[in-house]
């Protein structure tokens, strides 16, 4: 895999890090994982990001199923032994409150890449089993919406949730002599907007703790997904803003399996297909990953040095 990618696009040098990343802001440099057209597309949607009937309604509705998939991954392999109750899916009898009240349980640290307006980041930060959430996005406009929205909730203003205007390549690999790694790194509906997914994933993987999970959601590149996500969702029903998706950038689950199969120590893979049923919301569908939207979770091996070839 190429370790250094030639610069393709320039992002504005507006990189500011929060105190725990040091006050000396790192100079923004050109980066590989960002497509400027994508940035401006989402910047245009920024103002309606939190409108319940706005451009991101489908993502809001998707959030509970995202959390239950993350939960499923954590149940399949805990980043830190004896702590798998950080998240509770709806309908589960074991409430997150209990996990919170027992303060001796280890809480989880999340990194949300391409956080947008903060739909997933806010939810993760509100869960009692969460230690902290770092959420990054290359679009300054979108992040300002995220910050502005988080300010409305005292649960989020205590430092549990931090937003950084950065790409994954700009995120420091080390902090105070420690590797800057997380229990769970999430890439929700992001990879299909990235010009070079393999180098992007490689950069992302470095931030996953041994035993931690990389969880992503995306869309399979099939004729069905072309019809549903481009033609029906964008052009006919208009429930997704036009130009949100670029079908040729979609990634199939086999391609992801193949990619991670070539990485030492990234063996545990979980996949869940899902479909949006108007009027009912998002539903898990067996085999759905071969057709359209799906979640993909992959765990980094516990062995030191795992994840590098």
């Amino acid at each position: 895999m190429p370790s250094k990618i030639p610069p393709l696009h320039r992002v504005r040098p507006s990189l500011i890090f929060l105190s725990n990343f040091g006050t000396n802001s790192i100079r923004a440099h050109s980066t590989s994982s960002v497509d400027q057209t994508e940035i401006s597309h989402f910047a245009n949607l920024a103002s309606t990001w939190w409108d319940p009937h706005g451009s991101s309604r489908l993502l809001h509705l998707m959030n509970p199923i995202r959390l239950s998939f993350i939960q499923r991954c954590l149940l399949n392999g805990s980043p830190i032994p004896d702590n798998s109750s950080a998240l509770t899916s709806p309908g589960k009898p074991d409430p997150p409150v209990e996990a919170h009240s027992a303060d001796n349980t280890q809480k989880l640290r999340f990194l949300d890449i391409g956080c947008g307006g903060g739909i997933l980041a806010e939810a993760l930060a509100r869960l009692p089993g969460t230690e902290s959430v770092i959420a990054i996005d290359p679009s300054e406009e979108v992040l300002s919406v995220a910050l502005e929205h988080a300010r409305q909730d005292p649960m989020l203003t205590g430092g549990k949730l931090r937003y950084i205007n950065a790409t994954i390549e700009q995120l420091p690999k080390e902090l105070e002599g420690q590797q800057n790694q997380f229990d769970v790194v999430t890439l929700m509906e992001v990879i299909e907007h990235v010009p070079r997914p393999s180098s992007f994933l490689t950069a992302t993987m470095e931030h996953v703790k041994p035993g931690g999970w990389l969880v992503l959601s995306t869309i399979a590149r099939t004729w069905t997904s072309f019809l549903t996500t481009k033609l029906v969702a964008e052009d006919i029903l208009g429930i997704v803003p036009r130009g949100t998706h670029n079908w040729s950038k979609y990634i199939n689950v086999e391609e992801l399996r193949e990619f991670f199969g070539g990485k030492e120590g990234w063996k545990d893979v979980l996949v869940m297909g899902c479909v949006y049923v108007p009027g009912f919301g998002w539903r898990e569908v067996r085999g759905g990953e071969k057709v359209g939207n799906y979640f993909f979770g992959v765990r980094r091996g516990l062995k030191e040095g795992a994840g590098e070839k």
Binding site: I16, S19, T88, E148, R151, D153, Y163
Partner: protein, 486 residues
């Protein structure tokens, strides 16, 4: 098409100044508030503020405290009256309150789940297993009889104060809650931008004494004239029936001890119902014209009792005539009933006396709010809907609202949502609105269908009632519906 819900027009969130620095300092929260106002506000932030300490509001507070998912939420309840009345309630076996509700097994199941039903004084609750409903013009009748052995109760007649007492006892058992009683809501406004914290979407309730409570979610359990609904800008539509409901606690001749029956007769002026209470007590609900209601309240106890007995036994023409009499009704009734053939098995036991000071009346209305939710606000109970009392569904609908809202809030907490956002609340609205609308509509149509003595309508409705009576399957379905089975 009507919008699913209406959003209050909100001021657009201004983008932060271009200085990137300000974006990130904005999230740096200082634990030491900068100004006095901020201190005040931060100490008075609540996850849920409930306005109204009636059965609906207290059920919500109790279920929030008893659910392990929501018990950590900071909850306050504001009530204008003194809650000690319910808390220190010491009932006497010799009298019953005239404010009695018919709780369906579905409602009782929920009250059991939240741990409140065990605190309700069961010896003052009367279950009934049979229902006799008949047409006061044609005499067509429908009978519902549940099998007592299968403990198939239609409903539990419960004094509202008994339920309130049970809920308050349960709250105490759970370690109490912030119940702010004898306190009025002086005003509701939106919060301010405090820099680190932006409360411009948070409703702030100002109460007697000037204290302000900021609510992540403000719940209006504040009755038919809900100030919360008004603040939320939600319209409530419907009509007045031009009828008053006269209620009273009465004593009858001895009633059977195990199997009890509720009786309801549809008169052209409105239905009259007698519902059993323990021993030989019963509660009366008589919907009638405001003129007759006023007249009834003026009568001597003996004449009032005679009017009630007439209303279940004599022809609607007799009743209309007697309702205009100023006195001597008792003698008139004795004479008229002696010449009227009466099926004593189909009418309730004769009423002997009416409990002193128990006669009251209230205007009957149908109202339904356009929505139950808006950003950071939700309505439950009478604040959301008012239904004609003929099916005894008012309080059950309120408890159904609470049951649905608590389910919605639990899901929101478990999935990390902001419990005040419409995105969190919309499932409450979609679950409950259409269910309530159906019930309100059916009850409204029943009232209208039976509010006439016009012969063709009477003939058709009687035929319908007789047909339903003959079909056991349909009847059992209706009863399950009435019993709140899901």
């Amino acid at each position: 098409m009507k919008p699913i819900w209406r959003l209050r027009p909100r001021t657009a969130i201004p983008h932060l100044r271009n200085s990137a620095q300000s974006q990130f300092t904005a999230l740096r929260y200082s634990p030491v508030p900068r100004t006095y106002t901020t201190t005040n506000v931060l100490e008075n932030l609540y996850d849920v503020v409930i306005v109204g300490g009636g059965p609906a509001g207290l059920s919500l507070a109790t279920s929030l405290r008893s659910s392990s998912v929501t018990s950590r939420l900071r909850v306050a309840l504001i009530e204008g009256l003194d809650l000690d009345v319910g808390r220190k309630w010491k009932p006497s076996g010799e009298s019953y309150s005239n404010r009695v509700s018919s709780l369906t097994p579905g409602s009782v199941g929920f009250l059991t789940d939240i741990g409140a039903w065990k605190h309700v004084q069961r010896n003052r609750v009367q279950a009934y297993h049979g229902m006799q409903v008949w047409d006061g013009v044609s005499g067509s009748r429908i009978e519902f009889n549940w099998d007592v052995k299968n403990s198939s109760t239609i409903a539990y007649m419960t004094e509202n104060v008994n339920l309130v007492h049970g809920l308050l006892s349960r709250l105490e058992e759970l370690g109490g809650a912030q119940l702010i009683d004898k306190t009025r809501v002086e005003g509701i406004s939106f919060g301010e931008d405090h820099g680190t914290l932006d409360l411009r979407t948070w409703p702030v309730v100002q109460i007697t004494g000037g204290r302000k409570l900021a609510a992540r979610l403000l719940v209006g359990a504040d009755g038919a004239n809900s100030p919360v609904r008004t603040f939320a800008g939600i319209e409530s539509r419907g009509w007045d029936y031009g009828r008053h409901g006269v209620v009273a606690t009465v004593k009858t001749e001895d009633m059977p001890s195990v199997e009890r029956t509720a009786y309801q007769r549809f008169l052209p002026t409105g239905p009259i119902a007698l519902l059993p209470l323990p021993e030989n007590f019963a509660t009366l609900v008589w919907s009638t014209t405001p003129e007759i209601a006023a007249q009834l309240k003026k009568l001597s106890p003996t004449d009032f009792v005679a009017m009630v007995n007439s209303a279940f036994r004599l022809s609607h023409v007799d009743i209309a005539y007697m309702a205009k009499m100023d006195g001597g009704i008792s003698q008139e009734y004795q004479w008229r009933q002696s010449v009227t053939p009466i099926d004593s098995a189909g009418v309730p036991s004769t009423v002997l006396e009416v409990q002193e000071k128990s006669i009251a009346s209230f205007p009957l209305k149908m109202r339904h709010a356009d929505s139950y939710i808006s950003e950071r606000m939700a309505l439950v109970g009478d604040a959301a809907h008012t239904v004609h009392p003929l099916a005894g569904q008012g309080l059950n609908q309120g408890i159904g609202d609470v049951q649905s809202l608590i389910r919605t809030l639990e899901t929101a907490v478990q999935t990390g949502k902001d419990i005040g956002s419409t995105l969190s609340l919309e499932s409450y609205y979609s679950d409950q609105y259409f269910k309530n609308n159906l019930m309100i509509g059916v009850v409204d149509k029943l009232h209208k269908l039976y509010g006439t003595a016009f012969p063709p309508v009477v003939a058709v409705r009687s035929l319908g009632l007789r047909a339903v009576n003959a079909m056991e399957g349909l009847k059992s379905m209706i009863m399950k519906q009435a019993a709140g089975e899901r």
